[in-house]
Amino acid sequence: MADVVTTTPPSQAKPARLDPHRLRADFPILATLNRFGKPLIYLDSAATSLKPLTVIEAVDGYNREYSANIHRGIYEMAERATASYEETRVKVARLINAPHPREIVFVRNATEAINLVAYSWGRHNIGRGDSIVLTEMEHHANLVPWQLLVQEKDGDLEFVPVTDDGLLALEVYEALLHLRPKLVAFTHVSNMLGTINPVRQLTEMAHAAGALVLIDGAQAVPHVPVDVQEIGADFYVFSGHKMLGPTGSGALWARAELLEAMPPFMAGGDMIREVHLRRSDWNEIPYKFEAGTPDISAQIGMGAAADYLMSIGMDAARDYEQELVRYALDVLPREVPGIELYGPAAEYRGGVVSFNLPGIHPHDVAQILDRSGICVRAGHHCTMPLHERFDLAATARASFNVYTVPEEIDALAAGLRDVVRIFNR
């Protein structure tokens, strides 16, 4: 990962240790209390992250001061809105080290980005008998769009299995590549197991087999340094709301040649060059893929989030979250007898810990934790096939971000002991 340091801005270069207690002051919500008067212990960052003040104010500032439409306005307020919106493209490109901001297409979320690729690239490049390789650990967002595509085109899906340790079975991957798939799509970081996949290696192997590579970075961009050039990916997608930004923001990055060759996905205003009654032609990239009035306020907010993450430094964020996971994997089994943990060892994972208490349904776990102000998620976390793989009906999941502190993991452990006590009384 040495490249990352040299190709990213200075703020990311110094891996200064992150001070979460200082950062917490930037998140107004952390000062609120729940209905039982308990402070918020937010351990559901993999579902969506909290938002720092700079992001909240970027959205609010647009709504209060310059809420104009973009691109077509000649007056001052519209120019300001256009400039802020386009600056986000620059910031996001810098965050993931994309070669050029015009390779950043704004979307609502990672899900829309994947659907965009499936509809636009997929419907023109996948035909009968073509195969797409996915993995068993994909979020539904990186599975169901491909199911629809191969159903329509009579193509095939193949799946890289997940080992009992929660890692991808690389030897099977290698074998599947002999099928010469057109596309390989996998998650950078698993939202259930926390597994950080070896994306560079997976990408190189796919390219050697002649496949394009789409990486689902929804759980990576907020947590680990991402350098799309170093990875060598073709498509990289993520959601703003998981990286400290607002809901409604997100991005698809793709190499310019790919975007240029792809037909539009949605059609309407702003994505056209000329429209006649019976034919139209398209605007240049990325605008070809941004039909209609975009979510200007949210994308501006995502720009502020990218700035915030870069000011922390993604190396520091990754190091810190790995400390947290290490701590959680140490404390929870010790303090909560019988707890079952899923996922790989700390060195292979991001800030996600899924677990179960024996004989207690995760819904009940989450509900009781809520009384102590502790927010965890319970269910299948949009990874039903992965739950099937481990023969689990559901799990509870604690997930972290830069504002999480070890004290909150202690609180979780104490909360879980309460759950056990209530159920065993």
């Binding site: 819904h363 009940d364 269910g379 209530i422």
Partner: protein, 138 residues
């Protein structure tokens, strides 16, 4: 301490009533709540329009299991019409605790599954023109 997880709820969860299978149910249905992975199979033995036997199997959270346990106790011996008339409020009254919106589906899965079983049963009878069982399919 915790008003949701009262002793009797946990008691029904740990030792649900009517948990098991009927050898020859006249109606049955498998309901699921995929959001949480809850799954319940309801089996009914109906004759002369009366629910004479009832059993369920499945897995789920304390709320859904306790609700199934309480509901099966309640409907045994009732006429099909009476059971069909049961509302979500009736089930919530049975459970007797405040259910938050996110848990409603858990609490109501058993009623929903019973309703499906009865509707399927009614549809089958109408189709096959079999003997009227006293149930009035709607």
């Amino acid at each position: 301490m915790d008003d949701l997880y009262r002793d009797y709820i946990l008691e029904h969860y740990r030792h649900p009533h009517n948990f098991g299978v009927l050898e020859t149910p006249t109606a049955s249905y498998e309901g699921s709540n995929p959001l949480c992975g809850d799954r319940i199979t309801m089996m009914l033995g109906i004759s002369d329009g009366i629910v004479r036997e009832v059993a369920f199997t499945g897995r789920g959270c304390a709320i859904s299991q306790a609700s199934a346990s309480l509901l099966t106790d309640e409907i045994k011996g009732k006429t099909v019409e009476e059971v069909e008339r049961m509302t979500p409020e009736d089930v919530l009254d049975l459970i007797g605790i405040d259910i938050s919106p996110a848990r409603l589906k858990c609490a109501l899965l058993s009623l929903d599954t019973v309703a499906h079983a009865l509707a399927d049963d009614a549809a089958e009878k109408t189709e096959s023109g079999g003997p009227a069982s006293g149930s009035s399919p709607k």
